[in-house]
Structure formats: structure tokens, C-alpha cells
Symmetry: C2
Subunit: 345 residues, 2 copies
């Protein structure tokens, strides 16, 4: 049985989802795949930080945070390290980078990932920011240090969209990728098809916690554009930046636009796309009217989907969740299993 020691940088929703999966399914996983994943360090800016080289109890971490919102009640040999100290000084093999970040600078997550990779530790993250901004640099750094960089959760949460394209469709000749990559906007468009105005649909999305108080990142397509950059750079070997993505959001769509499409047997979807044509890559995010027969047209609500158009297989479409605590936590599990497959073989 191989043991992997994890340091969690950030212990919000996703980190807690991972801890929950390890608590509830760790034993089953160990039996199935022959690997054990043990959290030895957690460092969270607000909740505090704890370290036990022998392993922390995932259930105890969750109970502590459930009680008073902090890790204060967890008694461990070590505590008080900030993120960079945890990365440098803990015994972790894998740094799980989950700190709060954004698509403008990707910080402080970006520096955490650089430090971990340079220190010879595997990194897994569900943070779009640093990966959209610096994947080519980080992938090089990982390769130079002989470690893995797992980013499955940055697109479609735990739905294995990236690994499908990168591993299972290798050699099929992926020429175009199109996706419904943002659940919030797809939920809003689905509500509008049900008769809601844009404003009412947005308010409902906010009430359900899908959209933030400032919904710009979702409705103007910024979030989807970050995912488009990741798809282009991971799967097509490009080095695009956010500025390379032509971007139009859904805030200009009216109830009339939606009704008009429906009357023509079509549906508006916010589509992120990357396409290689004549050696050049075109990347964009924009509302598109799809015929209902299109594989992406039937994807409703907060669900996400991606279509790979390939030379040998034609279109292959994957549909699944694009967010959620356990769903995103599972993305980290799938990255851990990939590290195990790579390093154990």
C-alpha cells in the first residue's frame, strides 16, 4: 500500500469536500486502487493551520470547522504555519492548492504552486486563476522537477472533461472543442426558456447561490473564458492568455431573443470554443443559437457539457456537473489517482 501525504492550502468548501470523501471513502479507495491518502497539513488564512506528520483525522478537521468555523480545537504537534511555510516544511508529497484567488493575478495561489513544484512536490488544484494565467510555465516547472500538476477540477469540476480530452482522445485528432462551461449562465438561460426575464432569472440564480452578488464573472463570460484558455493550453498545446479569447456574455439577451430562438426550434447557449483551423487557433465565448438536435442543446440547468470534434470519431460529448462541494472534491481524488497511476507503475 502506497501512502500519499497531502497538505491542503485552503480549507473552504472544496477542501472540506475532499476531507469528507477521504473520511467516508478512504478505506474503500485504498482497497480499490492500493493507495492511501492522508492529510498531514492544513493551512487556511482564516481557519488557522495544523500539522501532524503522522496524519490528521479528516473527520476531526470537519467536526472542528463545523463547530466554530476554525481549526482551533484540533490539537496537533505543529500549528501556525502560513501557506508557504506549510509547503516548504511539511512532509507532504502532494500540495492541494485551494486558496481564494481570481482570474486577474491568480495570486497567492500561483506563488504557492510555483513554490510547491520547485520544491519537488506534486500539485493538484481546482483553482482556475493560476492555471488559466500560467499553465505553460507551471507545466514546464512540473516536468523539470519530475512531479505532476493535476488540474482536472478547473473545468467542469469533477466531471473528467480534461482527462477525457488529454488521455482518452489522444490520437483521435481533436480539432475543435465547444462547451457549456458555466453552470450559472446555463441555469439563467434555462429559466428564460421557461418564460423568466433575464433579471428574474439572474435573481433566482443568486437566490440559489449559483450566481454571486456581483455576477459579472459569470454573465459576461469571464469564467468561461478562463476555462477556454485552459482547454486550449492543455489540450491543444497553445499558450493563449485571457486577452486572446473573444468574449460576449449573456447580459444582452432578452426574453424576446429566447422566444424567437424557441420558435425556430433553437436554443441559446453560452458556448466556449477553441478551434484549430489552418494552423491558427481561434478561441471565444459567446451566446450561440443551437438547433435542438445539437448535442449541447439539451443540456439544461446548471449542468455543464463539452463536445470534442475529432478527425477519427467525429463528435464526442461529455455531460456532467460543473460545480458542487463533493463534485469538485472528487476532481482532486481523480488527480490523486492519476498521480498514483503515474508514479506507481
Amino acid at each position: 500500500m502506497k501512502t500519499y501525504r497531502l497538505a491542503l492550502i485552503g480549507f473552504g468548501n472544496v477542501g472540506q469536500g475532499l476531507a469528507e470523501i477521504l473520511r467516508d471513502r478512504g478505506a474503500e479507495l485504498a482497497q480499490t486502487v492500493g493507495a492511501e491518502f492522508v492529510i498531514t497539513a492544513v493551512s487556511d488564512l482564516l481557519k488557522g493551520s495544523v500539522y501532524d506528520p503522522q496524519g490528521l483525522d479528516a473527520g476531526e478537521l470537519l467536526t472542528a470547522v463545523g463547530r466554530d468555523g476554525t481549526l482551533g480545537s484540533v490539537v496537533t504537534p505543529g500549528s501556525g504555519w502560513d501557506a508557504l511555510e506549510t509547503i516548504a516544511q511539511s512532509n507532504a508529497d502532494v500540495v492541494v492548492e485551494l486558496s481564494y484567488t481570481d482570474l486577474a493575478t491568480g495570486q497567492p495561489a500561483l506563488d504557492h504552486i510555483r513554490a510547491a513544484l520547485a520544491g519537488g512536490k506534486h500539485v493538484i488544484t481546482t483553482n482556475k486563476g493560476p492555471i488559466a494565467l500560467a499553465y505553460p510555465e507551471l507545466a514546464d516547472l512540473a516536468a523539470q522537477n519530475g512531479v505532476c500538476l493535476g488540474v482536472e477540477g478547473t473545468v467542469m469540476s469533477g466531471t473528467p472533461a480534461l482527462r477525457l480530452g488529454q488521455e482518452l482522445l489522444a490520437g483521435a485528432g481533436v480539432r475543435r472543442i465547444q462547451g457549456i462551461l458555466n453552470g450559472t449562465t446555463n441555469y439563467i438561460l434555462t429559466q428564460m426558456e421557461g418564460g423568466a426575464t433575464y433579471a428574474a432569472a439572474l435573481a433566482e440564480a443568486q437566490a440559489r447561490g449559483y450566481a454571486e452578488a456581483d455576477p459579472t464573472g459569470d454573465v459576461e463570460g469571464v469564467d468561461a473564458a478562463g476555462k477556454v484558455v485552459i482547454l486550449a493550453n492543455l489540450l491543444m498545446g497553445e499558450a493563449l492568455t485571457m486577452a486572446d479569447v473573444r468574449r460576449t456574455g449573456i447580459s444582452g439577451l432578452t426574453a424576446e431573443d429566447v422566444a424567437e430562438a424557441a420558435a425556430a426550434g433553437e436554443r441559446w447557449k453560452l458556448i466556449g470554443s477553441v478551434e484549430r483551423e489552418n494552423g491558427r487557433v481561434q478561441a471565444g465565448v459567446q451566446p450561440v443559437r443551437l438547433p435542438v438536435s445539437h448535442p449541447l442543446a439539451g443540456v439544461s440547468g446548471a449542468t455543464n457539457a463539452i463536445t470534442y470534434s475529432t478527425d477519427l470519431l467525429g463528435d464526442v460529448t461529455l455531460v456532467g456537473p460543473g460545480a458542487g462541494r463533493m463534485e469538485t472534491g472528487y476532481a482532486l481524488i481523480s488527480d490523486l489517482l492519476a498521480i498514483h497511476r503515474t508514479t506507481d507503475a
Copy 2:
């Protein structure tokens, strides 16, 4: 660069599809994945057999068969071996089993696979018969001999349905699998939704080459049942046989049934399913009325699809081709790449 030598047992549509991919994309593949795949032997009951330990030219094989339907014009150091001689005496690392077989006995493919695995050779196949009938035995034999058994093409041709479930959803807790696993019946049902009678839709499917003169295997759900057995045995660790699958085909569906479902906002689909409940596995193939909002309801024509219902991710659906010369040929490529990932790491 690692080189893998292939012996093709059978050189029909799928074998020629594989040869075409290797001819047209072999160099690109070698560059991308660092492995070279060379055909050194072909043995076909009707087209003849050829062997060159240094490698046969895929283009020359295709040209020969295109010219007179046989390999007679290909001049090689060796020729005339039957399947078992080719398996035993060629220098192949990988036996590609593509001989004509069925779901009743799986022969002669089954004996070819046994011989190859026992002889320490990797086996890849797109033949459902032997895998539906004997997967547990064959998987054990492969493990005992330290070789791989690749069967991606037995379900949904090159669409990576099996590897998605087996590798990418490992640990997500797959509890139920439902799929549109037979393109012919899905094509017939789609035609019936367009207003055709069952008889007219079947005739059209036969005219297009989707259905055979005796369509029983497709329309009575036998083909789909074979795939259900494969899904249960590969992905849920069962040892089901064809007799364990409750099976109803589509030949009893009338135009009225289809119209009635449409009026209720539903669609008939022939669904193959495997479900684990209270430790017991239920497997079946039957026509099901799905609400149009169901992820499988929108899958039209000869396209196939599979939905994995999991504990951690909810439903994850993969949609793609289920047949075709290049599509099925690609399944073999993906099995070869998996062998390379496993043995090269």
C-alpha cells in the same frame, strides 16, 4: 521510441480501419506519444496471411486488398500461417483479434485470445462475443501472464465509454449504468418518431447498412445485452452471463406507441442497464419511455450514449459514435496507447 509489433487476426473492415489510421497518422502518433506501432503479421481466413518480422507496410496491405480483395500480391518473407500459427510463431507483442465471431460461442476468437494471452502477448479486440462470454476468465489469464487485455471497442466503438467508467470515474462510486448501446435500434426509433412505421424504419436501416438481412441480433436486444454483460463484468466486477440479462427488443413497438410517448413529452429508447442495489446486480435491455429532459432522450440516429450514475458526481453522460470503420479502428489505437501507458511508465 518504443516499438510495438502487431499481429492482426482478421483483416476486414476494422482491421483495415486500423491499418488506415497507422498509415495516415502513425508518424504523428509516434511524435505525440513516443511509441511506434508496426504491423508484422496479418492472418485472414479468406484474404490470406503475410508475415514480415521487420514490419509490413500498412499502405501496401490496403492497396493489395483494394485491388483484388486479398493479400496475395503482398510479397513477404513469410506467409500462409493460420491464426494460431501466427499467434504462436510471429514476433508480435500485441495480438489484434478481429476474426469473424458471434455471441453464441465467441469462437474462434475466444481460442485465439486464450492462446495469445497464455503466450505472454497483449491482446486487443473489438469483438464482443469472446468478451461478453468469458471476460472474467480472460482478465485472470491476462493478469497471470502480466499482459494487457484491451476491449474498448466492444462497447460504443472508439468512444471511450469503458475507460471513462474504469479509469476516470474510479472512486466516484458507480451505482448504475444506462446506455443506448445499439445504433441500429436507435436509428429505427428515431425514424419512427419522424412518422415511419416499424417495418419501413427497419427497411431503411437495412438499406443504409445499419441492420443486417436478419436483424434479430439488433432489434431483439441481443447485441445490447452482450454490451450490458461487458459493462457489468468490467466495471462492476461481476461475472454475469447473457442469460442474466432480462431482455426485450423493439420489434413490438408500434407507430402508435411512439406517437403516444411524443404526445406525453417522452421518447422511446432501447436502454441497456446495470444497477447495483442492496448488493445485488440487476441487468436488462428494454424499451423505456424517457422524458425529453433525460440526458439520453436527445441522442438521435445511430449515435450511442452511456450514463454513469455515481455517488459523488451524480450523472455523467458520454455521447459518441457506436460503429464505423475508422471509429472502431480508433478503439484499437486507444487500447494500444493504454498498453503503452501501462508498460512504458
